[in-house]
């Protein structure tokens, strides 16, 4: 009954085009910000940070990145894992080569390096579309993983072939390395996610976003109204890879601490993030959050329920968990092909009339 636009008059185009046009939505958004930045850091412990929040925040960044490319610009990519690896290795090389550099700068530069690599692998998109482009990006995935395995320079000739994040502090608090407090990990990733989500929303609401969506919906018509397909597709690849590179850098440096490329950034990662985007909703920033939350939380929830609640053996629970997650994905795609974001939109439509639907 609070959720409606009646009586909430818009008197300027700026008001009319704001992100949350309904007052209740704005309030909820501020509430989430207060919760995320004002309360959660103070109650964060190691379990919640490592099992739920940090992976959720990092996957949400990656999902927004892929959503920009696939959901907004319509270019399917299976190279997400590879691009995350580029971000991770770029961050590692920067951290070890310039120990004095502040960590946020490392992460941003890693994102920029990935953007460059993304543009390079985005070049085929000018000639090929759909499944064929997916296969071309798959080549990027395998090539990049192979490259980081085969060329010892990338892992600084370490005997194990792994990369390990050295400790770096920000304002006197460790943000990477073994002694990082849980709340610092959480807050470091949360700030990145907040800033990147805000930028993504801005990019997708204006000229750039319309160009991307025009290419997605009908590339021929887009060209006829003056959209340059070359720069538009490549800008989508660049921005998307920037996000994915940052996600990769954070995944390695803050979350894992040490990584082996095939294990951490293999093809499974590409599919996982693609599933997040599809389940969450293509072409929706909120959908990226929802998809990441769904696929991070569901396994944790099921494990707690089956092992903790029902007392099943761990190995049995692990297998049942895989089956349930798989089945749920299929059920989901049949019932709501447009993802959680669409479900949320429908719910909001209904809420506007609730509790007096007539």
């Amino acid at each position: 009954m609070f959720y409606r636009e009646a009586g909430d008059f818009k008197t300027s185009y700026v008001d009319d085009s704001q992100t949350f046009p309904i007052r209740f939505d704005r309030m909820r958004y501020y509430a989430v910000l207060v919760l995320g930045f004002g309360i959660l850091p103070f109650v964060m412990n190691d379990y919640w940070a490592n099992a739920v929040f940090v992976p959720f925040l990092i996957y949400a960044i990656a999902a927004i990145g892929l959503n920009i490319l696939t959901g907004y610009c319509g270019q399917v990519s299976l190279g997400t894992g590879g691009f995350m690896a580029v971000g991770a290795y770029a961050c590692y090389k920067l951290m070890t080569a310039f120990p004095w550099m502040p960590m946020p700068v490392n992460v941003l530069l890693a994102g920029l390096v990935t953007a460059g690599v993304g543009v390079l692998f985005g070049l085929p998109s000018l000639r090929i579309k759909g499944f064929y482009l997916a296969v071309a990006t798959l080549a990027a995935q395998f090539f990049l993983v192979w490259l980081f395995n085969k060329v010892p320079w990338f892992y600084n000739y370490s005997a194990s072939g792994q990369i390990t994040a050295p400790e770096r502090t920000l304002l006197g608090v460790a943000v990477t390395g073994a002694s990082t407090p849980a709340w610092a990990k959480y807050l470091f990733c949360a700030v990145f996610l907040f800033a990147l989500a805000w930028l993504a929303r801005n990019l997708t609401r204006g000229t750039v976003g319309r160009k991307w969506m025009a290419i997605r919906d009908m590339d021929i018509a887009a060209e006829i109204i003056g959209v340059n397909p070359l720069t538009t597709k490549l800008s989508a690849f660049a921005v998307s890879s920037f996000y994915i590179g940052i996600a990769g850098a954070l995944f390695f440096a803050v979350y894992l601490g040490a990584a082996e490329v095939g294990e951490a950034f293999g093809i499974q990662k590409s599919f996982l993030i693609l599933f997040m985007v599809i389940i969450g909703g293509l072409g929706s920033i909120f959908g990226s959050f929802a998809g990441a939350a769904f696929l991070v939380l569901l396994p944790v929830l099921l494990k707690n329920l089956l092992v903790g609640g029902l007392g099943w053996p761990t190995d049995l629970a692990a297998h049942i968990e895989l089956m349930i997650v798989g089945a749920l994905i299929i059920v989901f795609l049949i019932l709501e092909p447009h993802g959680l974001a669409q479900l949320w939109r429908v719910a909001k439509e209904k809420l506007r009339l609730w509790p007096f639907p007539h």
Binding site: S17, G206, R216, I224, I225
Partner: protein
């Protein structure tokens, strides 16, 4: 009335038509061995409503595609604003001020009506990726300015009520109107309409005719259209090009074209006796 006067002419209803805006010189277009267009020349004057008619397969749409840069003719020259146009990509043609609509609607189905029309102004919007990412300031100011222009077009075409509806949900007649709105939003110097009235009922056709005349009248836009409905063509247009089998068989004001024996033959067939 003298249509060949280089300074322009005055139409039957008293509108002043300017000089040559676009000139096609000896255009020939081939697809492999098939000649779609054979040695066609004609001009389009500023402020004019110019129709291209002809039976199915005459090469009308191919001609429009040559103008909008989709096809590059093997022979011949396209002159625009008194300058010869080098072969260019469709998006470069759009940036020169030529907008078009399609025979089969080519809207962006996943976007709202408002966003679709805003895409028409992309060539006029200048803020870059960084401005857009920060939003506040230049990008927002620009967005608001262009939104005002777009709202005028929305008012003009009477589609206020569907502003925020996704295009995919609209009926056919409204989609045609939104497509016209998107083309108008670019403030084109030359507007190309490929069968704007195909598949419409009488009432929708009348609306569309009214909009086309109003666009020409209020914005002074030069319009080139392809249409099969002869009544519409004869009423709307100032001059008509008639094509058949890729050749030009007639060119002139509607009355003149209507009495041209070649045109009658092409449309009605010829008696062989």
């Amino acid at each position: 009335m003298n249509a060949m006067n280089p300074e322009g002419y005055v139409t039957a209803d008293g509108r002043k038509i300017g000089g040559v805006l676009m000139e096609m010189k000896n255009i020939t277009l081939r697809f492999g061995g098939v000649k779609a267009i054979t040695d066609i020349s004609f001009d389009i004057r500023e402020g004019e409503i110019r129709a291209i008619i002809g039976p199915n397969g005459a090469g009308k749409s191919s001609m429009l595609n040559v103008i909008s840069g989709f096809y590059v003719p093997q022979e011949g020259e396209v002159w625009f604003h008194g300058k010869k146009r080098a072969p260019m990509k469709p998006y470069q043609v759009a940036q020169q001020g030529i907008a078009r609509t399609f025979q089969n609607i080519a809207l962006f189905e996943g976007m709202s009506v408002l966003d679709n029309i805003m895409t028409g102004r992309l060539t006029l919007m200048k803020s870059g990726l960084m401005d857009q990412a920060m939003w506040w300031g230049r990008a927002q100011r620009e967005e608001t300015e262009h939104r005002e222009k777009v709202e005028k077009i929305i008012d003009f075409l009477e589609i206020q009520h569907i502003r925020k509806t996704p295009v995919g949900r609209l009926p056919y007649g409204l989609k045609k109107r939104v497509e016209l709105a998107r083309a108008l939003a670019a403030e084109p110097k030359l507007l190309l309409l490929d069968e704007p009235m195909a598949g419409m009922n009488v009432e929708e056709k009348e609306d569309m005719c009214r909009f086309i005349l109003d666009v020409n009248d209020e914005f002074g836009t030069t319009i080139t259209l392809i249409e099969h409905d002869m009544g519409v063509v004869m009423d709307l247009s100032d001059r008509v090009v008639v094509m058949d089998y890729g050749k030009k068989i007639g060119d002139g004001p509607p009355d003149e074209v209507r009495s041209n024996p070649d045109v009658i033959n092409a449309y009605l067939g010829v008696s062989h006796d």
